[in-house]
Amino acid sequence: MTMLSVHDLSITYRTRSGPLPAVRGVGFDLERGGSLGLAGESGCGKSTLANALLRLLPAETEVTGEIVMAGQDVLGLSPGGLRAARWTTGAIVFQGALHALNPVQTVGRQVAEPMLVHSTVPSGDAARARTGELLERVGLPADRADSYPHQLSGGQRQRVLIAMALACDPQLLIADEPTTALDLMVQAQVLSLIEDLRRDQDLTLIFITHDLSVLTYVCDDIAVMYAGRIVERGPSFEVFERGAHPYTRALSAAFPTIGDPASRMSPAGLGGDPPTPGNLPPGCPFHPRCPLAEPRCREEEPPLRESGPGRRAACILV
């Protein structure tokens, strides 16, 4: 059964300096219980996409296309229906910087808040009890509920955000850069926690990051984004090891793999910066940085094409 179906999604921010197309015609399906990794550098549109799934973008943003989550047309929901669906159908694990948690409220109160809003528990005491359970499930002692965010370490805050996301038993979990700001050791712990939770609760997972190597641990499939579009899609290990798109290959090479000392010694970086949404190069947006670029690349933006069994890439060389 399809948990999430995105079709031709385009998101354009309206700013004082003109419209900025952050996401351009993205589409993908995700089966129930599946796990999709969304990889790309800053500015490629992945966080925008994540926020769009729960319609969290600023009111003036133009969103076209279709998002169907657990059978509901997200973009067509009424405000009441949308609020009801948020957190109960799909929940986001935000990046755990101090800013994702309200600094003047205890973490326990923030974890319990969605339970009380959606009335998934019968009373305040029940909420408190469940908060304790959730904290223990993510590896924190239950009494941490009375701590304030600034009293916790980065890793602990990230666990709190995971517990918070699970508060209303969502079917879909969207993890937006959950390990980015953490030390390597803590990263590994959080990743393994997410993997355990996914298995135990049969969650459908979308994992967003700029670190391609991390996705191979937690996700079955990977979609690579560049300049607002998906430029490659396929099973995670294959995409990582044998990327069809030149950008994917560059991305894999740029990060040392956890546990592989050799790759730490010779990371290969990619020159230049990703284009900003307002300044997309003509044709294939990657061609200015692509080592295999040809004159044809400047003319037309290649669509996603079959590049192998269950794999697609948006490059003319496929």
Partner: protein, 317 residues
């Protein structure tokens, strides 16, 4: 917290030292000034000089001064020949009411205005609120009082032209209260309008900062309604800087009362200060300065403590 209290006491001590030495510089002959224009025999003056210890070295005089001040013996007013403390004590209630009412109103109205302005940033409402508060804040507070007095008391006759109670009135109970409020209205309105600008500005900018924070998006993602997000997450965090501001602003409102009380002949400490300037009634000025400073120091300390109690990020000792 002990350190804060100690700091305040230290500051108060500095004020005492400053007060003492500054006036000693000017008051070359305090006893002589006291009896200026009066026919007093020379032995009496010398006698008093000795009694007040004015022949002693300056260090002893300072100790004497501190001891006397602690006993609320602040000297004798040149103008009224009454003890300074009596003159001050008599007028404290009037100023406390005026400044208290104005400070509370300006804080509440200003903060609400700032929050409303920030929530719909750059709207017509926002521009109207920010511009009007900026205009009020840019004019001399007593000039605003003069205009209000002219418009509402002289021209329209809706309010009395000055004072605290109607002259020759012996009303009691409710009638007295209504008369009092009738007289209080214009001066309180003046001080409130003059000082709500700062609150509006700080509340607005503080809320704008909070509105950019991620935890608001998180709250919305959890399914909370916009109104609840604002009430439970945005506004409480935005109010913290406003608490600090009340301390700073209190000093200004208190000082603003000096000129405004003069305009409305409101018989409080402010008007007494203005009258003392005309003398110059130096003992009165000395006493006023001490009192104003002490009030602001104490209020700052209270606001500091309140802030530490409200913000969980501040280290609790």
């Amino acid at each position: 917290m002990g350190r804060k209290v100690l700091g305040s006491i230290l500051t108060l001590a500095f004020v005492l030292v400053f007060n003492f030495f500054l006036f000693r510089v000017v008051q070359t002959d305090p006893i002589g000034s006291l009896f200026r224009g009066r026919n007093v025999p020379a032995e009496k003056i010398a006698d008093l000089r000795e009694k007040f210890g004015l022949d002693e070295p300056i260090g002893t005089q300072f100790v004497f001064y501190v001891r006397e001040t602690a006993q609320l013996n602040l000297g004798i007013s040149y103008q009224s020949r009454q003890p300074v403390w009596d003159e001050i004590a008599r007028r404290i209630p009037a100023t406390v009411v005026l400044v208290g009412v104005s400070a509370i109103l300006s804080a509440v109205i200003g903060t609400i205005g700032g929050i409303v302005a920030a929530w719909r940033r750059n709207s017509l409402r926002d521009h109207a609120i920010t511009s009007s508060t900026m205009v009020f804040y840019s004019m001399p507070d007593f000039w605003l009082g003069m205009i209000l007095l002219l418009g509402f008391a002289v021209v329209l006759g809706w309010f009395p032209v000055g004072g605290m109670i109607s002259a020759g009135s012996n009303a009691t109970g409710i009638a007295w209260l209504l008369d009092y409020l009738h007289h209080l209205f214009l001066p309180a309105l003046t001080l409130t309008l003059a000082y709500l600008g700062e609150y509006a500005l700080v509340a607005r900018s503080s809320l704008l900062d909070v509105m950019g924070e991620d935890y608001l998006t998180v709250a919305r993602a959890k399914g909370l309604r916009d109104v609840i997000v604002r009430r439970k997450h945005a506004v409480p965090n935005a109010l913290l800087p406003v608490v600090t501001l009340t301390a700073i602003n209190f000093g200004f409102v208190l000082s603003g009362a000096i000129a405004v009380e003069t305009v409305f002949s409101w018989p409080g400490l402010g008007k007494a200060t203005a009258d003392a300037i005309r003398g110059p009634d130096l003992p009165m000025l000395q006493g006023m300065f001490l009192l104003f400073s002490a009030a602001v120091i104490v209020f700052n300390l209270l606001a500091d403590i309140a802030y530490a109690w409200l913000d969980p990020r501040v280290e609790k000792e």
